[in-house]
């Protein structure tokens, strides 16, 4: 079974620029999550999708972050404009059971300078 694919692996941008991350979950997984992991901390949930619908985006800074999963498979997370404090690893995870452990991708490490 292929894992959760994410790209790019690394990204360096200047503050106020925009950036987008892509995630391809495990085939058949209806639930997809984006997490933000700041260095030295545990991952923090940004948004949860069930198929192509948003289940929980309560912790997504909507003034600058957006995410979509138009066809219920791949997902993109965008930041516009980026701030220095957005420097983190952005992890995508998927599951076929909402009450079970997720499978995480390797993440995209974003550095905002």
């Amino acid at each position: 079974e292929a894992g959760v694919a994410q790209s790019p692996r690394y990204k360096i941008i200047e503050k106020r620029q925009s950036v987008a991350f892509w995630c391809n979950p495990i085939s058949g997984h209806a639930t997809l999550y984006w997490y933000q992991q700041i260095l030295g901390q545990g991952p923090k949930l940004l948004i949860q999708f069930q198929n192509n619908g948003v289940v929980d985006d309560s912790q997504l800074p909507k003034d600058r972050f957006s995410a979509e999963r138009l066809k219920g498979v791949d997902s993109t997370l965008k930041i516009q404009p980026a701030k220095l404090e957005d420097s983190a690893v952005y992890l995508c995870a998927s599951t076929n059971r909402a009450d079970y452990g997720y499978t995480f991708g390797s993440g995209t490490r974003l550095t905002v300078v």
């Binding site: 959760v4 545990g42 949930l45 009450d99 995480f104």
Partner: protein, 112 residues
């Protein structure tokens, strides 16, 4: 809380010894708990889970203990190996929701 800042608690253990990693969770309504291992440059990897109706569960070289009275979770790794060097996170699922919430991590360093 989930933040321990830039300096993770670190457990140094001799190769072959047993490791015990502790975690305090905050939500008494959580009924499902998971331990994840995260190696450098990788996403968290599932190790073992436990439901709130259990107090102990064993896997291969790992054991999770749950004490609901004091809201404490621990992960025991037997005969720790160099490949066990990583950051370990506990995570909890509340009974009424489906959002996995992570605690602060513990870095395990295995000395040869």
């Amino acid at each position: 809380g989930e933040s321990v800042g830039l300096h993770l608690p670190t457990l140094s253990v001799q190769e072959g010894d047993n490791s015990i990693i502790n975690c305090a969770y905050s939500n008494s309504a959580s009924d499902y708990f998971i331990w994840y291992k995260q190696e450098s440059g990788k996403g968290p990897q599932f190790i073992i889970d436990i439901r709130s109706n259990m107090d102990k569960r064993q896997g291969q070289r790992v054991t999770v203990l749950l004490n609901k009275t004091v809201k404490h979770l621990s992960l025991q790794i037997a005969a720790t190996q160099p490949g066990d060097s990583a950051v370990y996170f506990c995570a909890e699922f509340p009974h009424t929701g489906n959002k996995l919430t992570f605690g602060g991590g513990t870095r395990v360093l295995v000395k040869p």
